[in-house]
């Protein structure tokens, strides 16, 4: 092989080594851009004073289901329907997810349902006020994020008001999320 060809081969080899190693590095970087690790939830639901009989906690306390009563022309309070306990310093907020049925004649049996997020020192950290207008629910906006410190237990207070002459057996389903950051 003539000298010129050897020189070409050397140049091409150097460029090839660069291209192949750089491509491998880029591909490797694309292969592992992120990872996910399972950890204990930093904020979870716990039972409050009013929880017995109305609260069903999900596995690991990451969800809670409440079955609440309402009486015609009466405002019923659940002062500690469910508690929220933090095991790390975080910020939390209440966010409405869904309400059903809406746009339905049964909605008019309710007047309002209010969810209060109450701190340990009994001050209010946020509230979601669901009110009815005719056959429709007015869905509130999410509350602002508020800091919760490690070991603190806050409570969710619920106020339900049914309309005068509300029919027995009528129900509504409200889903609320607690966002944690």
């Amino acid at each position: 092989m003539p000298n010129r060809r050897w020189l070409d081969f050397l140049i091409l080899l150097l460029i090839s080594v660069f291209i192949v190693s750089a491509s491998a590095a880029v591909y490797y970087a694309m292969l592992s851009p992120s990872s996910a690790t399972v950890k204990v939830a930093p904020v979870r639901f716990t039972t409050g004073n009013d929880s017995p009989g109305i609260l069903t906690l999900g596995l690991n306390g990451t969800s809670a289901s409440l079955t609440l009563d309402a009486y015609p022309n009466v405002t019923l309070y659940y002062d500690q329907a469910v508690n929220v306990t933090a095991i790390a310093d975080k910020e939390i907020r209440l966010r409405p997810v869904s309400v059903s049925p809406s746009n339905n004649p049964s909605v008019s049996n309710f007047t309002s349902i209010v969810f209060w997020l109450i701190r340990t020192d009994t001050t209010q950290a946020g509230l979601l006020n669901y009110t009815t207008v005719g056959n429709t629910w007015n869905t509130p906006t999410a509350t602002n994020y508020v800091p919760i410190t490690t070991g603190e237990t806050w409570t969710i207070k619920i106020e339900i008001t049914a309309a005068p002459g509300a029919l027995s057996g009528v129900s509504t389903n409200i889903v609320i999320a607690i966002d944690v950051r």
Partner: protein, 161 residues
């Protein structure tokens, strides 16, 4: 069911194509059948693939997986077409039967088998197989047209040293 520990990304075909072009560049440089610039042309194709890989990384979250697969597989198909083309060139134009047989056994067949193997790992969906078949057909058609339109001039250019 047998599963790979790491799922293949569509860019793997791009990476494979880059490797094939690099190998072609080095081989065409040491073989006496090609003019000098052919090796640099293959090296430029490998560099183009690298740029393509960088762009794919930058736009990873904007391009859908299907689109990424399409352009990555097209690049690999071009690399494979180049290898097969070199094999045909050795046989038809240069009448170098022994070299062509050696090239087919050592380069062409293994690269096709390796590419097929990785495609079989990736192509879980029928749409990917159909896209791969369509792109391969387009590459074969393009190569055939290039040979048929002006073969003598093309072959002359390839072989001049």
């Amino acid at each position: 069911m047998l599963r790979l520990a790491i799922e293949l990304l569509p860019e793997f075909f791009l990476f494979l194509g880059i490797d094939l072009f690099v190998a072609l560049a080095l081989l065409s440089c040491i073989m006496d059948y090609f003019r000098r610039s052919v090796a640099y042309l293959f090296e430029a194709a490998a560099a183009f693939g690298y740029v393509n890989l960088l762009m794919s990384q930058q736009f990873l979250f904007y391009f859908s997986e299907y689109m990424r697969f399409a352009y990555c597989f097209l690049y690999l198909a071009l690399a494979l077409a180049s290898i097969i083309g070199v094999n045909f060139y050795l046989v038809i134009s240069r009448k170098a039967w022994s070299t062509a047989k050696l090239f087919a056994g050592a380069i062409t067949l293994p690269t096709i088998v390796i590419s097929t193997f990785f495609f079989s790992l990736y192509g879980r969906d029928v749409s990917y197989t159909l896209t791969a078949a369509l792109l391969s057909s387009v590459v074969v058609l393009g190569t055939a047209i290039a040979f048929l339109t002006n073969p003598d001039k093309f072959k002359d250019w390839l072989g001049r040293g």
